[in-house]
């Protein structure tokens, strides 16, 4: 949580505040590991059929909108990623790569991205589905707890004033200039931060769980609306992949922001919960 319970212990000229509550820290840590396992095992599962389709069905002979594969022209073999009808060559990374023993492999994602590193759909599914429970129960617990302790209302609720285009634009400019809030302002999330975190909490993570369940034939029997709402099992699979991509994107920006805003300060904050804020230069 964004330090609302200030602890006014003066230290080196800056105040130390409680930046993240225990529930947030704990969930953050568990999630970091869980999402890594889910991503890596998910990429291995994708390797079993490296194509994505829209609608209810899609298999070899049907037209995928996304594909990772390899091909040969004359003597030259190359890996590629295909979106609709355009191909980008990805030899060495996707579609065609060398494994740990220097052998050429023709699978979508390379060994260093997948769990397990050697092809195994069965093991990847065991990892993926076990940790899916950790993610789902963790998210549910965290959301309920955040509702009870006021985290959602206090720290993530976007006020009408913040929704104003001018306020949004101000924040975009501040981020673009790498101007991070100091003093009182540093105790609250900016509107872009709120949007990013709320997007992850209320769209991407629930979306991952819902589209994951929508792919399951057992769940589809008793909750057909899940799959129908998105327009089919293959659409659910495509969205599952796109949401995962969204989470990876979030992770990239999240990391960049932490590095730019002071990695040690924020690392300490997310581990111990405490952060020292600089006073306004007034």
């Amino acid at each position: 949580m964004a330090g609302t319970e200030a602890q006014d212990s003066a230290q080196d000229g800056g105040r130390v505040i409680l930046r993240h509550r225990l529930s947030t820290r704990l969930w953050h840590g568990v999630n970091a590991l869980t999402l890594l396992v889910l991503l890596m095992s998910g990429l291995m599962i994708f390797n079993a059929h490296p194509r994505l389709y829209w609608g209810e069905y899609g298999a070899n002979y049907d037209a995928p909108w996304f594909k990772v594969s390899s091909a040969r022209i004359g003597a030259r073999e190359f890996g590629f990623v295909q979106i609709a009808n355009s191909r980008v060559e990805t030899t060495g990374v996707l579609g065609l790569w060398e494994d740990q023993d220097g052998r050429l492999q023709r699978r979508a994602f390379p060994y260093w991205m997948t769990l397990p590193s050697r092809y195994s759909l069965a093991l990847a599914r065991i990892w993926h589905l076990a940790f899916a429970w950790v993610l789902a129960l963790g998210l549910l617990g965290y959301l309920l707890w955040s509702l009870v302790n006021g985290h959602l209302r206090r720290d993530l609720h976007i006020t009408r004033r913040e929704w104003h285009p001018r306020s949004l634009w101000q924040d975009v400019k501040a981020h673009a200039r790498l101007r991070f809030p100091k003093g009182e302002a540093a105790r609250h999330y900016s509107v872009l931060q709120k949007l990013a975190y709320a997007g992850v909490l209320f769209i991407l993570l629930p979306g991952m769980i819902a589209t994951g369940l929508a792919m399951s034939p057992g769940t589809d029997a008793w909750a057909p609306l899940l799959t129908q709402a998105v327009g089919g099992r293959q659409t659910a699979r495509s969205l599952h992949f796109l949401f995962a991509f969204g989470l990876v994107l979030f992770f990239g920006v999240h990391m960049a922001m932490v590095v730019l805003a002071g990695p040690l300060k924020h690392l300490r904050a997310i581990v111990t919960g405490r952060m020292q804020i600089e006073e306004d230069a007034s």
Binding site: Y61, G218, W222
Partner: protein, 261 residues
Amino acid sequence: MSRILRPRGGLALSRRGLLRGGAVAAGGLALSGCDDLWRADAAKDVLTRAEDLHRWSQRALGGEALAREYTRADLSPRFRANGSQGVADPAYRRQLGEGFAGWTLRVEGLVARPLDLSLAALKDLPQRSQITRHDCVEGWSAIGQWQGPQLGGLLRLAGVSETARYIVFHCADLYHGRPYYESIDLADAFHPQTILAWQMNGAPLEEVHGAPLRLRVERQLGYKHAKFVTRIVAVDSLQDIYGGKGGYWEDVGDYAWYAGI
């Protein structure tokens, strides 16, 4: 592993196991990488337990729910076949050539009246036709129309014993040199959409799709839908059958016995 096949005490144990698994996994990832971790039987055991949680939750929430059925307009233009797509056995080849005129399905094990049913007799039983989506564990799916007698009707005809807990399907094919077989429990065996299909999209099954008879167990993934079924056995335990894990893929790989997710 065979322990996972038995419905057990429930959620508390499994969830605790899962949490312990998380802790083991966390330590393992940090120390030595996931592959090493997987070799530790403890971690594998714990993670595999989540399968109980899948089955328990889906059964609790799903009950007798039917898999979604589609219309003829939804059929996929081409129904992909993979896995075992043919049978080398000379007796089978001869039957295939003769349109399976002399072919029989045997129903035995923990039943009061073992049955030998010809294909004609199976076609004479009350039929169920359903257009369903086939979900492969690999991620692809295809929609097809299937017709055949309900497995439940067949089991009632044979007088399945109260001590039976699983129905095992023995198949005519060898896959990578091993006999293919699969199993489901009685909850799935008596589900209305669980049929022994001899017809697909209005025509007799083709060899690649498991002629003359394949299992359709619509709320589970494709590898459960055994092709080339020749013998159905009611048993009270899966332990002494081949690898003991209840199916070809369960024995050979680490595929889940409960394939609803």
